[in-house]
Subunit: 307 residues, 2 copies
């Protein structure tokens, strides 16, 4: 299956290109990017020209930042291509609804990917939690923005999500592993005085059974990086560490890793299946929680951020 | 049909109580409010006690501020009551989804009301626009917050929406009268330095046919108040004035007003019909646009607001 990769930045080079290269199902047939390219792959700078020149490419994978993504996705759908979206699937919920409606009307596949849901132990954690009564869940997502987003000015601009860019990964896992639906009841957002998006957030959620659910996201973490979800239940405590790569039950490593090594190989395997079956997978719950938190959150100004 | 009114504040006294009193279908059978009551109507201060004491009341109408609304709505649904929600239907989108799921599971009516959609000329405007090609649409919603929200501190707190509290009325009309779906592409939010919510906003929207769609909301308007939507089409210009009470085409008053005098009588008539047919009406498009604008908007600090 041939795909074009649109937006050759850090995430494309680090994850998408190797995942496609290692896959027996996929072939990277073209790139679209103003500056980036991939050795040995036909490079376009204009999306429209690529769509016209390469009718053999039926799938377009978009990994540019969220704000410009809608226009590219709609252009690809209007040209009859299946579309795969990096997370978050768009800058707003309403534009995601518009893409969903367009894909449905055209009978095309549309896939809002959440790569962290495909971390090794997420499936095992979901299975373990499925028959437990949740008492409390705490997300701790603390990393160094300078290490993971060097020079990415767009993350501080409206629509860039700030610390919710990694935080949405945690919420994509939480919404996957919890049988119940949660919603945001309050949030405190620390916003650098020279930025539009938060560098840290503390979020409280409502859980229908009254479990105490909360999250802390912080982009100012030096040294050890923490991507952890702890779920206290009536029959033990589950901890997902390293963004879902490790699972512990009551402190003991547990569970069986998902097949196929790595998050992005699993995303592309899922996309291949969706295209084959004509499916649409647009689970917007992680983006809904983030949008709600950004809209409802109490903003507190904090120190300016210099990259 | 007996209803209990929950939250006896300005909107209840100004609109809900008279609409129910004037209706042949409805009877105001109880109120729930910490401080307010209605002469001659059984008054409760506790929602649970009302639900227990008055099993004959099958419908609960909630007009308290958006942040506490979810808990009351869920309590009423869990007690098997049909629920009518003042606008906005909740403080977050995800809590609205939870209410929707609960009502569906229980087979109960749930109605997210948008009173401005029932202004006299909104139906006529929708009908006129249905076969036109839109070129541009401009919303101008400028009012004096001190006149319309005296002493309502919650509007300046997270979840209070600020100028989007009236602005969402405009967007409820726009989403009703336009055949196409729009979404927010950018917004500038002027936030008083001592408040959490905007006092003014300028919003740009994407329209699928490329029409130039924008809105300005401002709560600092002295003197004449402006609630206007102007739609320029390939065959004339439609103007809705006074929040939808007056319609003009190319400057000439036009159109036939909806039957039943007034927005709230129409809401209660619609609720009676939904209860009779077991319907659910949870159109979240206005709240989605507002949530998207608050999440995506560029915040600019402005003068502190003193009530």
């Amino acid at each position: 299956m041939k795909t074009a990769l649109v937006g050759i930045g850090k995430i494309a080079v680090d994850q998408h290109v190797p995942a496609i290269a290692d896959s027996a199902e996929w072939e990277l047939a073209a790139t679209v990017s103003r500056h980036g390219s991939v050795d040995g792959v036909e490079a376009f700078t204009d999306m429209g020209k690529m769509l016209q020149a390469r009718p053999d490419i039926r799938v377009v994978s978009l990994c540019l930042p969220p704000v410009p993504r809608f226009a590219y996705a709609m252009q690809a759908l209007e040209a009859g291509r299946h579309v795969m979206l990096e997370k978050p699937p768009g800058a707003t919920l309403a534009e995601c609804h518009a893409l969903d409606a367009a894909a449905r009307a055209a009978g095309l596949t549309l896939y809002a990917t959440w790569h962290s849901r495909h971390a090794d132990m997420v499936g095992a954690a979901k299975s373990w939690l499925s028959d437990k009564m949740l008492r409390a869940l705490r997300v701790t997502w603390k990393e160094d923005v300078r290490r993971w987003h060097p020079g990415q000015a767009w993350i501080w601009e409206p629509g860039g999500l700030g610390v919710f860019d990694p935080g949405i990964n945690a919420l994509s896992i939480v919404t996957e592993i919890l049988p119940a639906q949660i919603h945001v009841t309050g949030a405190t957002l620390e916003v650098p005085s020279n930025c539009q998006t938060p560098i840290a957030a503390e979020i409280a959620f409502h859980h229908p059974d009254g479990a105490d659910v909360s999250a802390v996201f912080d982009w100012r973490q030096q040294g050890d990086q923490t991507w952890e979800i702890e779920a206290v239940t009536d029959s033990g405590t589950l901890t997902l560490r390293d963004g879902g790569a490790v699972m512990e039950v009551d402190g003991t490593v547990s569970g069986q890793a998902a097949p196929l090594g790595g998050e992005y190989p699993r995303l592309y395997a899922q996309m291949a299946q969706l295209v084959t079956t004509g499916g649409i997978d647009m689970d917007l719950r992680p983006l809904t929680l983030v949008t709600d938190a950004l809209a409802l959150g109490r903003r507190v100004a904090t120190d300016p951020f210099e990259d």
